[in-house]
């Protein structure tokens, strides 16, 4: 079922290893980094909005 005979065969990609893994590596990097950055941005935005909301309600209470 599995096409490859050994792990080193798989990694060598018939001599195209650099190109194949270069493509997959950068794709994987982007598809991991983008969610991390987007989620971090979401967290920061939420925290900032929460601070603003608190400051506002404090001002109106005074």
């Amino acid at each position: 079922m599995i096409y490859w005979n050994s792990l080193s065969d798989f990694l060598a990609m018939g001599g195209y290893g650099l190109y194949v893994w270069g493509s997959f590596g950068v794709t994987a990097l982007i598809m991991v980094m983008e969610p991390i950055l987007v989620l971090r941005h979401q967290k920061n935005t939420l925290a900032r909005l929460k601070r603003q909301l608190r400051a506002e309600s404090r001002n109106t209470a005074e």
Partner: protein, 248 residues
């Protein structure tokens, strides 16, 4: 009258925000499942290509990334048309949430295209009609993002960006055909990236990876849309409730 009401209810951020929030985990899960299945078929099971050797395996990300980069631009133009026609707030947010992912897909398509071109054509970059069009598509994404980022007023940013998207989507076919003509005149590369007849497992692997990229894009765009939504609607009751209830 009732239909109209429902349409507006769905397009209202107050309903969309929690709905999107509960859908995101499913899109992530489906994306991971499709991705693993696609990688298993494409990288482990599929046989080698007799013309291109193992180098052809770049197809499993190159083609999905190219498809998504074009598809996302069309979806953005669709939202832009809805936004300009019905003046819905949601459409502008969706278009802006999709743009960075679309641009990254265009970049990935170029990057993998270059890494595929080097062993196949002997050059990192060839002025092939499709690669050139993809580069121009990336420029269009960058123009859209630069325009919306330069406008502070969100309503104007949405509408101006939407208009640019509609102008862009009308121009994409013209650009594509002119580049194609230019390429045939100047004797383009003779090797075709997707020409060779594909084995069935290869095709399935590619389709699964395309589904994975699709679901990934939806999930990312929904997360981004939720952040934009909260930021813009921060003075409304529902947004205040969400913000107050959020964990630090």
């Amino acid at each position: 009258m009732k239909d109209r009401f429902n349409l507006y209810r769905f397009a209202s951020p107050a309903t969309f925000y929690p709905l999107a929030g509960s859908l995101i985990p499913y899109f992530v899960a489906v994306s991971v499942v499709f991705g693993l299945a696609g990688l298993y078929l494409g990288m482990l099971v599929a046989p080698t290509d007799f013309q291109q050797g193992e180098g052809y395996r770049i197809i499993f990300i190159h083609v999905p990334a190219s498809w998504m980069s074009m598809f996302i631009y069309l979806v953005m133009a669709f939202w832009a048309a809805i936004g300009l026609a019905f003046n819905t707030r949601l459409s502008g947010m969706m278009a802006q949430a999709l743009a960075p992912t679309g641009a990254l897909m265009a970049f990935l398509s170029l990057w993998t295209g270059a890494l595929w071109g080097k062993p196949m054509w002997g050059a990192w970059w060839v002025w092939d009609a499709r690669l050139t069009s993809e580069l121009i598509l990336l420029f269009l994404y960058i123009g859209y993002m630069a325009l919306t980022a330069a406008i502070d007023d969100t309503r104007r940013a949405d509408k101006a960006g939407g208009l640019l998207l509609l102008v862009g989507v009308v121009n994409v076919p013209i650009i594509y055909f002119s580049v194609k003509w230019w390429n045939t005149l100047h004797q383009g590369s003779s090797v075709n990236l997707t020409k060779s007849s594909m084995a069935e497992t290869m095709l399935w692997g590619m389709l699964l990876m395309a589904m994975c990229f699709w679901m990934y894009s939806i999930a990312i765009a929904l997360i981004r849309a939720r952040t934009i939504m909260l930021e813009r609607e921060r003075h409304t009751d529902w947004a205040r409730a969400v913000i107050a209830g959020a964990h630090e």
